[in-house]
Symmetry: C2
Subunit: 338 residues, 2 copies
Amino acid sequence: MHIPSSRITINDIARLSGVSKKTISRVINQSPLVSEETRSKVEAIIAETGFVPNAQARALARGRNSLIALVHDGSDRGILEAVESGMLRGMEGSEFSLVLRPVEGDPVARLRSFIDQHRPTGIVLLPPLSESEELTLLCDETETRCVRLGRVRGEHGLACDDRTAMSELVAWLIRLGHTRIGLVSGPETSLTAQQRELGYLDAMADHDLDRGPALIAAGENSFESGMEAGRLLLEVSPRPTAIVACNDEMAAGVIQAAQRSGLMVPDAISVVGFDDTPLAARIWPALTSMHIPWAAMAQEAVSRIRGQAMAADDAPALKADLVIRNSVLPLENQSGAT
Amino acid sequence: MHIPSSRITINDIARLSGVSKKTISRVINQSPLVSEETRSKVEAIIAETGFVPNAQARALARGRNSLIALVHDGSDRGILEAVESGMLRGMEGSEFSLVLRPVEGDPVARLRSFIDQHRPTGIVLLPPLSESEELTLLCDETETRCVRLGRVRGEHGLACDDRTAMSELVAWLIRLGHTRIGLVSGPETSLTAQQRELGYLDAMADHDLDRGPALIAAGENSFESGMEAGRLLLEVSPRPTAIVACNDEMAAGVIQAAQRSGLMVPDAISVVGFDDTPLAARIWPALTSMHIPWAAMAQEAVSRIRGQAMAADDAPALKADLVIRNSVLPLENQSGAT
DNA sequence: TAACCCATTGTTACCGGTTACCAAGTCGCT
DNA sequence: AGCGACTTGGTAACCGGTAACAATGGGTTA
């Protein structure tokens, strides 16, 4: 049994202000077809009663819910925090709410049933999901706005140039004198990770440095895989003097592996990360990392979904940026010792 | 203009299977009032067409949405990840979805309008919000199920005994020979933090140790405040040989402060955290911390909201547990050196 | 054989908004 | 005065489910 719950509805407002439902609807939807007088009268009553339109009824009538979903596959926890808070900032003061939707397993099927069930206004896809054309198609089909974060540019995409950013990061290490630079790569299935790896290769090639497979260890974007890859790279001989990881989680793993085996960072070996997640500043030594503006991108993504795309050039805030902390030393200041 | 979107509805299923809407409704709601034969026929058709009931229509009719909200004030980012994933695990395979709802500023007003707008089935409150009676009252009023995480036991509450856990943690340090033990406390407004502080005082009193104010530095649960408090504690003389922080974020801050000032952890000073968040394992040295089963509590919270409360004793998984890593050394193994 | 009961299933009125369509009032213009 | 154009507001159908209540049909009992 369902108690009428006596909450205020649009009908109550209509009755109280002596106009029709439709007019109230016009007022709350900012339609211009209402006289100034009527509008202010209705608005006063709404404020007085604390009326809030029922999102369900609205969603049912419009065929769209005031929800924006963050869809990811759980493979890169690191950037989640930044994306969440960016999206939240983008929806502040609006009618929208953020739904978290991990889709492990079969992303297409799970996303489809989610969309059918909730009819969100839009979704934000994180890599590596943002690389799937299938998911974008699904959104088109269901008329769900969709923004793909990372690597994919263009109509639905919002990304930094990972490849260039990584190559700049490595070039910076090279300028500090490093020549044997190891890489902890990301999962093969992730185009984002591939771009980063390419950026590394670009820089190494530009400077004619050894970029043989021995210097590249495969990671899976997780801390544990970073530790494992770190262990491997520390054993190659001659040992790299610097290691770059394709994300911060793995960089933290590399640091852990190094310190455990008695190699101090950065005195014995330099380590850099990528993304500049909150973790980077919290570990010791604080991690030098390439800042990717995930929060800003997420906020912009929400704006797009809300239909308030920024001016044509959305570039300014969306540039990668090197953040120098304490995990790197110029080669000459490093002791070669164990 | 709204295109009919041609999605499958309960009416289509009714037509296809030759029974009434109501019967379909009964089937998807697992009502026992349907013959086995009808049920399986309908289920076959549902599976075949990929029909998913529209959550909005449902929510409108029932007066309740299939949403569970995580409500917090953003003051303790650390436990958020664990709570999120616990809640998500609790809703896996169900019709429920997770909404993130930070309520800074005026929690009561913001939560009220959120509830009026979305009518979630339930909400999970994180400390320090879970300590507010007002919010619980609001949920009662609006018939929204509510679980308060941390510190509050009883009907709506789900918590570990923070005080005892902290006192055990400190007692453990004392057994390792430490006698000058500093505390980084949490915000004064948080009862959870207060309980932890009391636990510290209990243990110190039990062993007749100095628990003067000089050994207690106030933090705000953030990494930065932990660093600041750490700096203060490292300057008191004689210097504490161990520092316990009221959460992991602050413990990481203490470690950072110590290492920056040249005090190696744990060789020169031991540091312990509280909560055992993902951060604890990622920093160097890996942080010894009191595990608080936030994920398990969050999962149980969702179960309660879904109306499947566990057996009377929900205790087993909900015990705090010391996780020993690398940030503590017995006093005798520490060098007193700078 | 009629009366009755139980298990199933259907009828119909909502839930609280949006929207297509229509009606009425105001105004300026010829 | 007559007319259309424009503004403003009302009516009623609909979005896709749920639920109170009625109804149907077969077997069992008197």
